[in-house]
């Protein structure tokens, strides 16, 4: 009897021993890091100057063709809004196909074609690639510009403007642009009913004739296609595209404000304030500091462990999320940090934003934060490679933004070489807690008295004008 029970005890023991082998007190050791391979884009250039990149990927039987036109920003003035109508009007019929016929032909193969003033894309299953290219080139090179269709588009745009009047996110975006760049800058101009009504077909045609040129174009073909096949298709459909001289435009970068300005936009129905801290930043795409800046930005407001998120959400519970970013641009980049916070804590949230920004400049970035930010950016770089379009966009960016040829190949190496001292040194150059705009869209009567402590208070209307 005893023996038997002993066996049972042993059996039980052995079971628990198996479980006890799982050491839950610490994280498992990772396996050796896998190699991150960046595939190559094949490339060739047509006689008309169109640069073509091909990324072959056979995982899914589909292809995507994307065109980018690299032009300078254009000031639209009294006709603001016409450039955004170029794409919709090109999609509204060609010289040989009405809008109905075109829409029908695209849907018949289950394809997607989108066109904007400086880009276009088309995608479909592999087996429809010939029809896709035919339709895409018809839209790009044979637009009909039917006047009746422009009238429809204008009506749609005016309806869209109406919906924006009550949309706090749209208001915040519009006012931010107006405040940062001013309304005489291509980045700050505002579309309204009056400017839309002033637009006619000739404006769109003239834009098309000036800027739709292959010599400022980059075409990426991604998917279930090899270089030879892609080359044959591109030659067939894009060779007759005529090159031409495209005008260039120079624009002044935006200026930082003297001191802090608090911009208030009243939306009495709001239960949350959208708080946006913004200021211009001089950061070109090929700036040697770009990687450092992306690390700074990641530490301040890049993810679910950033300083802003941990403070405003996880510690204070003011918001569902707080984030920041620094956008590079060849004319004028900008810094933006934002959160939607409940009305009652608006001034407290504003205080925390300034506090976090100030803190970034005070030599506070730690080794641990830097390592976390590096891991974050390394991880998102690695994950982005799952999408074959990423490799095409790398190739395009190198060309368009004059990046070093090995920018992406060396990206992880350069990222990992950044030191804490580098970041603490450049932080004051990019973090401007004393020269910024704090734009707040909300029920301002609930908190306006408590905001002049942060800077000069200026009232704006929801459509981006200073309130008189």
């Amino acid at each position: 009897m005893k023996k038997i029970s002993l066996y049972i005890v042993l059996a039980l023991l052995s079971v628990s021993t198996i479980f006890a082998q799982v050491d839950r007190s610490q994280y498992p050791e990772p396996a050796p890091a896998p190699e991150i391979n960046i595939g190559d884009a094949e490339t060739f250039t047509l006689a008309n100057g169109l640069k073509v990149f091909v990324v072959e990927n056979h995982k899914l039987p589909r292809i995507t063709v994307s065109l980018v036109l690299d032009r300078d920003p254009v000031l639209e003035g009294a006709k603001k809004g016409y450039i955004n109508m170029v794409g919709p009007l090109m999609m509204a019929g060609t010289k040989t196909m009405s809008k109905d016929q075109l829409d029908e032909a695209i849907d018949q193969i289950g394809a997607r074609i989108n066109v904007s003033s400086s880009s276009a894309s088309a995608s479909s299953l592999k087996k429809h690639q010939e029809t896709l290219m035919k339709l895409f080139s018809e839209v790009l090179f044979n637009p009909g510009f039917p006047p009746a269709e422009l009238d429809k588009i204008k009506k749609q745009v005016i309806s869209g403007l109406a919906t924006e009047k009550d949309d706090p996110k749209a208001i915040a975006a519009k006012v931010s642009r107006a405040v940062l760049y001013g309304k005489d800058h291509p980045y700050g101009e505002i579309t309204n009913e009056e400017t839309v009504n002033a637009i006619n077909v000739a404006d769109i045609q003239s834009y098309y004739n000036t800027y739709f040129k292959p010599n400022i174009g980059y075409l990426a073909i991604v998917g279930d296609i090899n270089k030879k096949e892609a080359e044959a298709l591109v030659k067939k459909y894009f060779s007759s595209w005529k090159k031409g001289t495209v005008p260039t435009h120079q624009w002044e970068p935006a200026k930082s404000p003297d001191g802090n300005k608090v911009i208030l936009v009243d939306r009495p129905a709001s239960v949350q304030s959208i708080v946006t801290l913004a200021y211009p930043v001089d950061l070109k795409f090929n700036s040697p500091e770009r990687i450092q800046v992306s690390l700074l930005s990641s530490i301040l407001g890049g993810g679910m462990t950033s300083r802003l998120f941990m403070n405003l959400r996880e510690s204070k519970g003011y918001t569902y999320g707080a984030y920041s970013s620094i956008r590079p641009d060849r004319i004028s980049g900008d810094f933006q940090a934002d959160a939607s916070v409940r009305t009652e804590v608006t001034d407290s949230a504003v205080f925390e934003f300034y506090k976090e920004l100030k803190n970034m400049t005070a030599n506070t970035i730690t080794e641990e934060e830097l390592e976390l930010a590096k891991a974050n950016l390394t991880g998102s770089f690695g994950r982005s490679l799952e999408n074959p379009a990423t490799v095409a966009s790398f190739a395009l960016n190198i060309d368009i933004h004059d990046l070093p040829k090995d920018y992406y190949r060396n990206y992880l190496k350069n990222l990992n070489a950044v030191k804490v001292t580098d970041l603490n040194k450049i932080a004051p150059k990019y973090m401007k807690p004393a020269n910024s705009y704090m734009i707040i869209v909300g029920n301002t009567s609930a908190f306006k008295e408590r905001l002049d402590q942060f800077g000069e208070v200026i009232y704006y209307t929801a459509d981006g004008n200073i309130k008189k």
Binding site: D107, P168, G303
Partner: protein, 444 residues
């Protein structure tokens, strides 16, 4: 050692409208946890996900919003992972994570560099074995969820459409409340109630673990067994609604005054259960109505008549039968009634005439494109495998989607339009600008 159950599906299909086959292996632990693995070594990343079969429909009507709130709490930590450490650890290994809660499920996922697969498995097992929830976490996340509600619903024009539709479309079924739930209920909830919810629903026999990406099948299975085998099977009965939403014979119609400029018309028609074969014909009907610029309602209302700024059919397919929303925003100067009567005219046309052979072929091409494009990422594949397993009873249903669409006949589109898009059984809401609200009217 018990023999486990392994199935390997090989991709063979002879149909002309075929989808790429997703190969996978699956097994079940003794505690009831279903595990699905899909290997794709092209990028050195791996997605790990846990689908807990608990959503807002499993909630006590006095404690709505519990499932979603619990999703927030599960990021708080475990016996071995301190508060706030969960997100930090995943980010520090170069991973990303998130979760969402629907009416039917709570879904958690991480995508990590593949050498950290074991870490991700360990972390998910920690949450299932012994999540740690304290009052500090509960109080903070309660505020965060309130802000989520304000941001998504109250501060967003047309933001309340989903909850307003659900509460009218479901008179009996717990789909009548949205996953965000009631803030009063969350205020009243105690820590003990949360722990009870955890012990009831967050058990291996109510979950599917899916791992997709750069992995080794044998090694992955060993790790899964190592970390998940010791988690005890749930002992409590898992509450699932067993009510059927009765068919209604009278239209429900209301006006909601919102902070908007342009009126919107929303019609909602109840759908059959997610695993009902008509779901595919209904999906095609939605595409016929608003998928692509040549679709019936887009062409007629946005393009020809210019009555709508935009219109879309949004199917909310749910386990016990969801709803499909037809959601149109009026163009400037167009009143809701006028937009609605034009929508109705077109729907009646489908019921009376059905779809042409040419339009049917177009629909098949659109469906094929969307089915083929669906499984483009390992995270997406993981989710589709898990949902196929839970709602369709077999992970391999992921590979049969096109086959099911191929079974839909042209006449079925007309039939389901007649059968499900019934004027008398629908809910219609007009969203109107607050400025147009009669002074004495009560606000909803």
């Amino acid at each position: 050692m018990k023999q486990f159950f392994v199935i390997l599906f090989l991709g063979i299909s002879f149909n002309s409208l075929a989808q790429n086959q997703i190969k996978f292996k699956e097994f079940q632990l003794d505690n009831g946890l279903n595990v699905i693995m899909h290997q794709d070594n092209t990028t050195p990343i791996t997605a790990v996900s846990l689908l807990y079969h608990v959503g807002s429909k499993n909630e006590n009507p006095e404690r709505t919003g519990f499932a979603h709130f619990f999703e927030h709490l599960l990021f708080e930590g475990s016996e071995n992972i301190g508060r706030g450490e969960y997100m930090k650890k995943i980010e520090s290994i170069g991973g990303t994570l998130n979760a969402f809660t629907s009416n039917d499920q709570t879904y958690y996922y991480e995508v990590v560099p593949s050498n950290y697969l074991e870490t991700a498995l360990y972390m998910e097992s920690e949450r299932m074995l012994h999540a740690k929830i304290d009052t500090v976490g509960v109080n903070t996340q309660r505020e965060v969820v309130k802000e989520e509600r304000r941001q998504r619903y109250e501060n967003q024009p047309y933001g309340t459409i989903a909850p307003e539709i659900l509460k009218r479309s479901f008179q009996v079924h717990p789909y009548q409340w949205a996953p965000i739930g009631s803030m009063d209920h969350l205020n009243a909830a105690t820590l003990e109630e949360f722990m009870d919810f955890y012990r009831t629903f967050y058990v291996p026999n109510n979950a599917v673990l899916t791992i997709a990406g750069d992995l080794d099948y044998d090694q992955t299975e060993k790790w899964v067994r190592k970390y998940f085998s010791e988690i005890p099977k749930g002992t409590k009965p898992i509450p699932r609604p067993n009510v059927t939403e009765p068919k209604r014979n009278q239209e429900i119609r209301d006006i909601i005054y919102d902070n908007i400029q342009l009126p919107a018309v929303i019609q909602a028609y109840n759908l059959p259960a997610l695993n009902h074969p008509d779901i595919y014909a209904l999906g095609m009907l939605s595409t016929y109505l608003t998928g692509g610029k040549s679709s019936l309602l887009t062409k007629e209302l946005v393009d020809r008549q210019q009555k709508a700024l935009a219109i879309s059919a949004i199917p909310l397919e749910l386990e016990d039968g969801g709803v499909v929303l037809l959601y149109g925003i009026a163009n400037i100067g167009v009143v809701a009634d006028s937009l609605e009567s034009s929508i109705d005219t077109q729907i009646e046309r489908v019921k009376a005439e059905g779809v042409s052979e040419k339009d049917f072929q177009k629909l098949m091409a659109q469906v094929e494109n969307s089915v083929v494009s669906k499984n483009a990422s390992v995270a997406g594949i993981a989710q589709n495998l898990a949902e196929s397993k839970v709602y369709l009873g077999n992970a391999n249903e992921i590979n049969k989607e096109m086959e099911k669409y191929n079974k839909v006949k042209r006449e079925d589109i007309q039939r389901v339009a007649k059968q499900y898009f019934d004027k008398n059984g629908r809910v219609v809401l007009h969203y109107l600008p607050k400025a147009s609200q009669p002074v004495k009217a009560e606000t909803k």
